[in-house]
Each structure stands twice: as structure tokens, then as C-alpha cells.
Symmetry: C2
DNA sequence: CGAGCCCTTGAAACTCGTCAATGATCGTGG
DNA sequence: CCACGATCATTGACGAGTTTCAAGGGCTCG
């Protein structure tokens, strides 16, 4: 039995309340997790994708590589995050995935997912969660497209802070963030050098300190305002609506 | 009865074969469409989203606005394209949507979507289609993040060409594209001025001509290569797999 | 025929990338 | 326990791509 299922449950439970039985099922299904060493590749773009990844602990990401070797990170998967089950419907993965830190990852088969589908409540939570993930992807496009380097870095840090807070991985506006500056650059479409300069600037302005894989937010309001950050897209306080629609 | 449902059916049928009965249902459900004038706003970010939009004819887009007025276009919806039904599961729209040209748009209610859900085949097609749309969004992030202006414009034109071809809206490597250069700029995160310069360059290289709302591709292979375009993400030839998995 | 929107072009400024070198940190093995 | 190599952070100088500003011209529609 994996000790890490709780983050996943906590993540999903934000989108609809789960019964104890449903929580037990999620715990059971994620118990087949196994550890992956840092930089291990989970799947490459183009390969058949017959599993859904659940990151129980650690940090993974989805990304695409260009022929010249440049990389765009498309999404982070923190502890509690999972891939979109709809991915199973297509013949092959449209992007690659790797773990950035030593991580505990569970691989759910199509058969396992079918067990989940018998629980409409869980399906609802996963669907809403996946929809939120799409919202994050949209916000990233805005970020990379229309914000300055300074705003981008600030915005990303605001987002990560709230996402980690949602699963209980922050304390006093601080959290562990095991990303190199080069990886942040691949996320925000900035050079590692420029990420560094921007982080220095944030430090000098006493907004954020990012050192030794730890982020300390000194002035969240200031950071939010510098980023033009509006947390709505994270659906931090999504309520379970009265009407229990079951959409595709 | 709308005369435009065929593009929608054609679009979905690329992902699984639809029976005549299923096609009739889609035609019936889209018959409640109505025309929208150019620049009409379909929905604003934050408003309750209780309808799924199907663009039967014309051109719409999803976008986000920044407080300073800048706009990032997140997706185009050409004739035959639709929104993601999963959007209904969240309380409100996470981005705005408008029509860029006079368009024929159908608004499907949650009740209508529930009728569709009784047809697993249609659900499958829509799910696969939506998944492909997500793939397009990922590719756009790569585009904006890691490609030069020249590559971005070329890449976008390659994509639009294939998407329009899929629903029969091209002839001889030419198609109507009712976008202003400013709108292309809002899509690719470039200034309108630079879009113009890039289009001139493409014209001089005899790759593409874009004039009078018409795109004529003179050298598709050359354009594809200039863009570093790999059409796989469009799932142009997605086969209906043997196994009929029904994922969430 | 005029108004408005869009395209086109030029010049100057700025953000950010690249290149290069130096330090700091960490894990590993001698 | 220290030395070593590797990875990562830091800093400076320079260059390139793109933006902004500004102005003129063309097209379309009423």
C-alpha cells in the first residue's frame, strides 16, 4: 500500500467530495506505484500510450523536443497530479514525459481506468481536474506569449505556490521546488541566463528568494501584482455544483 | 435543418466511423444554429458556461485578454470545430470566445449533450477530437515559445491548411482565411508589423501568398520544412482502433 | 466620395539570447 | 576526509530578433 495516495486523493477531492469507499479505491489502484530515478523518461512522443501516469510523490513534466534539441516543457506534474485519461483514446502519445526528480509514479492501465469509470463521482472529479489542467495550459500560452520575463517568472511562482498549497506541500509561503534555472527556462521560453537575472531581480525587490531548491515568497501580494496573476484558472475553490451533470 | 452540419460530422467522423443514424442525430442537434455577426462575443471569461459551441460555418476563436488590453488567441474554431464538452463541468468559462467572421454557430445545452452521451460512438469521436484539440494547444505553446517569427507563421499556415483540408475547405493548396495580420499576431505573439514583414518574406521566397483573405501555398514541402512542421499532432489519419475503450 | 480599417514601410529602441568565463555546490570515490 | 568532476548558478559584453512609433497608401463599404 503506497503511503502517497493521499496527495492524489486530496487533489481530486478539491473537485467533488469523495466517499471513504471511493478514497479506498483510489488508494488501492495507486498502490502499484514504483520509484523512478531523476531524469528517467516515462514515455516518448509517438509511442503507444496505454497507461495513465499518477505522480504520487516527486516531480514530473510533459514536454516536446524540437529537432535542434530545444525543449518546451508543457506541464508540471507535482505530487498528486495525474495525466489525462482521455490520452488513452488516441493511438500514441503526443508529447513526451519524464521525471525531473526521483519520484514515485503509478501507472494505471486501461483496465484499471475502467474500474474507476464505474464510479461517476470519481469520473466527475477527474474530468474537472483535467479541465483545470487544460486551463493551466492556456494560461501558460498567455504567459509565454504576452508577458515579460519578469512577469513570467513571477506568474509561474504564484501558480506553483497555489498548486502545492492545494496538496499541503507548503509552509509559511515557502516550498521545495526541485527545478534548475535551465528547466524554468524551458518552461517559460527564456534562456537560463535570463531566468537567473530575473530571479536576482525578484530577490533584490524582496519579493521571492529561490535558493537551494527552496522558494520563499516574502511578499505574495507584491508578487501577484507584479505577475498580473489571477488565480481563478486554478479553480482553487471549485464547489461541487448541485446539478450532477455527466458530460463526455 | 441546418445545411452546415456536414462539416461537423466530417470533422468527427475522422475519429471513428459514424452510422447514418448517428449522423442524423448530429444534424438534428445542430439545427438550432443561428448566425452571428463578425466580432460578436459568444462568451466572456468568468461567465457561467452552460453551452457547448459548434461552429458550423465561419470562424471563431478562444482567447484571453490581459488587463493592459493585449490579447492571446488560444484556438481557432473553423467550420466543423466545436468546444470541449468537459467545459460544462466547471462553474464558469476560463477563457472568452468570439467569432472573427460572420458565422453560423450552434449552442448545445447540457440536456442536448446528454442525448449525445447515449451514443458511445459519438462520445468516443468527440473525446478523441477534443484530445486532438489539446494537442494543437500544446503545439502552439511550442510554436510561441521556441520558434522564430518566420517558423511560427509558416507552422500556423501548415496547420490551418491541413485542418481546413480535413473538412473540405481547400482547393489546390489554396483556402480562404479571414484573419487580419493583427489577429495572426495575437495568435503567434508577434506584432502586426512583424507578421507583415514575415508574410512578405514568405511571398518573396515563393512559399506562400496571403492576400485578399486568401492563402495560396506555392510550395507546401518548402513551407513544411521552413516551419519544422510535423503533422502528426493533427491526427490526420487517426484510425478507429480495434479495441473500443471507453475512458473518462 | 469619404471614413475607417488594414496593409506596408522605415527608423530607433529595447528585450532577451548567445558566448564565455568564473564560482559555488554536490555527489562520489580515492 | 579530502580531492575531483560534474552540474548548476552567476556575471559581463555583445549581438540579433522583435517591438514600438510613425506615416503613407490601399481597399472596402456605406
Amino acid at each position: 500500500m503506497s503511503p502517497h495516495a493521499s496527495r492524489w486523493i486530496r487533489r481530486l477531492a478539491r473537485f467533488t467530495s469523495l466517499t471513504l469507499e471511493e478514497q479506498r479505491l483510489l488508494t488501492e489502484l495507486s498502490s502499484s506505484s514504483r520509484p523512478f530515478p531523476a531524469n528517467d523518461i516515462l514515455i516518448k512522443a509517438g509511442e503507444p500510450a496505454d497507461r495513465v501516469f499518477v505522480v504520487l510523490d516527486g516531480l514530473a513534466c510533459r514536454y516536446k523536443l524540437l529537432p535542434d534539441g530545444r525543449r518546451q516543457i508543457l506541464a508540471y506534474l507535482f505530487a498528486g497530479d495525474m495525466g489525462d485519461p482521455r490520452q488513452l483514446l488516441l493511438n500514441c502519445a503526443d508529447c513526451s514525459m519524464c521525471v525531473l526528480r526521483p519520484s514515485e509514479v503509478s501507472l494505471l492501465t486501461a483496465a484499471t481506468m475502467q474500474r474507476l469509470e464505474r464510479h461517476p463521482n470519481i469520473v466527475l472529479a477527474i474530468s474537472r481536474y483535467s479541465q483545470m489542467q487544460q486551463g493551466i495550459a492556456s494560461e501558460w500560452l498567455v504567459n509565454v506569449g504576452h508577458r515579460t520575463a519578469f512577469e513570467r517568472v513571477s506568474h509561474l511562482l504564484c501558480e506553483i505556490y497555489l498548486r502545492l498549497e492545494a496538496v499541503g506541500l507548503t509552509q509559511d509561503h515557502a516550498f521545495e521546488l526541485a527545478l534548475t534555472q535551465a528547466e524554468i527556462g524551458d518552461t517559460l521560453a527564456l534562456s537560463a541566463v535570463h531566468v537567473n537575472r530575473t530571479l536576482m531581480e525578484l530577490r533584490q525587490l524582496k519579493l521571492v528568494t529561490f535558493q537551494n531548491r527552496r522558494v520563499q515568497i516574502h511578499d505574495y501580494a507584491g508578487l501577484q501584482s507584479a505577475a498580473g496573476f489571477d488565480c481563478q484558472y486554478l479553480r482553487a475553490n471549485e464547489e461541487a455544483p448541485v446539478r450532477a451533470t455527466t458530460a463526455t
